[in-house]
Amino acid sequence: MSSSAISRDDVAHLASLARIDLSDDELDRLGAELPAILEHVKVVQQVAGDDVPPMSHPIPVANVFRADVPRPGLTPDEALAGAPASEEQRFLVPQILGEE
C-alpha cells in the first residue's frame, strides 16, 4: 500500500463519506495536495515497533462520572434559537426518507 497512490476518485469518495459536496476545482486541488501531505506523514509507519502501545489520550483518566443530580438544561426556545428552521418546538429538517 503506497500512501501517495491516493487518486482524485479517492478524494471524491472521501469527501462523500465526510458529506462535503466538493466542486471539481476543489477535488483537483485536494487530489494534488493530499498525496504530498501523506508522503510526509507516512514516516510514522517506520518509527514505532509492535511493542509500543498506542496513546489516544495524554493524561489517562478513567471512569469519570459526575454526580447523577438533575440540573437545569436549555429551554426549548434556547435550544431552538440557532436552528435553521423549527416548528412546534422541534428542529425542522429536510426530507430524510425516500418518497415512496
Binding site: L34, I37, V44, P54, P58
Partner: protein, 492 residues
Amino acid sequence: MSIDVTTATAAALAEALADGTTTSTEVTQSYLDRIAGADDQLNAFLHVDAEGALATARAVDARREAGEQLATLAGVPIAVKDLIVTTGQPTTAGSKMLEGWVPPYDATVVTRLREAGLPILGKTNLDEFAMGSSNEHSAYGSARNPWDTTRIPGGSSGGSAAAVAAYEAPLALGTDTGGSIRQPAAMTGIVGVKPTYGGVSRHGVIAMASSLDQVGPMARTVLDAALVHELVAGHDPLDSTSIERPVPAVVEAARRGDVAGLRIGVVRELGGEGFQPGVRAAFDRSVELLVKAGAEVVEVSCPHFSHGIAAYYLVMPSEVSSNLARFDAMRYGLRVMPHDGASAEQVMAASRDAGFGDEVKRRIVLGTYALSSGYYDAYYGSAQKVRTLIARDFEAAFEQVDVLVSPTAPTTAWKLGAKSDDPLSMYLEDVATIPANLAGVPGLSLPVGLADDSGLPVGVQFLAPAMADDRLYNAAAALERLVDMPRLEEIK
C-alpha cells in the same frame, strides 16, 4: 498617582483598581477607544461588545464602592478567542458555518471570567475552527501583526495575540492544539501559555482535536498570564478530561522568577537546521542569560520529536473529521438548500461545502482517509504509537532536567500570503510546539527580543512536566527580567 491605562500591565491595573486610582469603567472605556482606533488596521476582533463590557465594568465599580471583596482581576478587561462560546455575543469560530450564531450557554472559562468580574471586550479573530498558523484561514479576513501589518500575527489565536500586543486588551484567552497560543505569542512579542492538558476546562470550547486542545492565557507579562491562568484553571465536572487536582501555584512562581540551581535542558532536535539565523541567535542569547542567572544548562536529546509533525498531522485531522461532523446544517449553523426538495443528506453536503473553508475541508478529508478501514492501523494507529514515543522522550528528559527550552517557532512572522499556497510548508512551522500537545505537557512562550535579521519578535519556549506549570512561570519570569524586549510604541 496616575496610570497609563492601556499600556499598564494587568497586575498594575488590578492594583490601581483596588486602591481607587482608576475605575473599571475608565479602563474598559480606554480599551474600547483603543480598539475603535486601531482595529481597522489589525482586524483582531470579530465582535466588540462595548455595551456588555461597560455593564460589567460599572457593576464591578459599584461592588467595589460598596466595599465588597473582589477577585484580583475584577474590573480588568479581557478579550476572548472566538472559538470559546459566549452568551450574548456571537461565536463564529472564524467560520461562515457559524456566522451570526449566538450560543445558548457560556464556556466554563467564560463563566469564571464573569464570576470574577472581568469585562469581556469582545471576540477575537482566528483561523477557521483554529486550523492554521497564520490567521489567513479566517473566513473574516486575517488579523494583522501590529509590529508590521503586512505580516501574519501567527495562528490560530492570532486575533488574541494582535489585540494584546497592540494594547487593544491587557489580557486574552486563546486555545492551543499544536501551538496556537505559543506561536502567535512569539510572532507578536507577548507571553502565551498552553497549560497542562486537562488543567483548564474545555467545556464550551468548540472542539478541534479533543485530545490536544487546551485553553490558556495570553498577556504582556509572565505575571499577567499567571493571574489569568490561576483564574480559569481547575477541575470542572462538565469536562470529563479535566484533572481533579489543585492548580499549580503559577502566580507565586511568576513572582519568584529564580533559576539559581534550576536544571534547564536545551532540546537538540528543536533548533539548528530549518531555524532562521536571527531566531537562533536570540535563543542562544537567552540561554546565556539563564546561565548567568545561575541555571545549569545542558543539552538533551528527544529523538522522536522530529516525527511530531507527522504524528500530529494524522492524529489531529482524524479527530477533526470526527468533531466537525456535528456541523450538519440541522440544529444550528448554516443551511444551504441546493435545490427544491433536496434530502437532508444533500443539504448537509451542500452546507458543509459552502460553510467550510479550504483548510478545514483539507483536514476533514485527510482525517477521513486516516481513519478509513484498511488505512486505520497504518496511519492513525502508527501515529498514536509515535505519540507514546514522544511522551517517553519527555519523561526521559525530565529525569535529567526541570524544564526544557527551545525557540517557540523556526521563523519570525512572515508576509501575509507567503505560505498560503503550500499547506505543508505552513505545517512545518509547528515543529517546536507540537510535542507538548501530543504529550499533554505545558508550554510557555516568552518574548526575548527582536531578531537581528528581520527586526521582528522572537519567542523562547519553556516546557515542563504535566501539572508542573509553575516551573514554566518561574523560569520565564527569571528570563523576562534579563531580556531586552522593546515595547511596541506605534503600529507601523
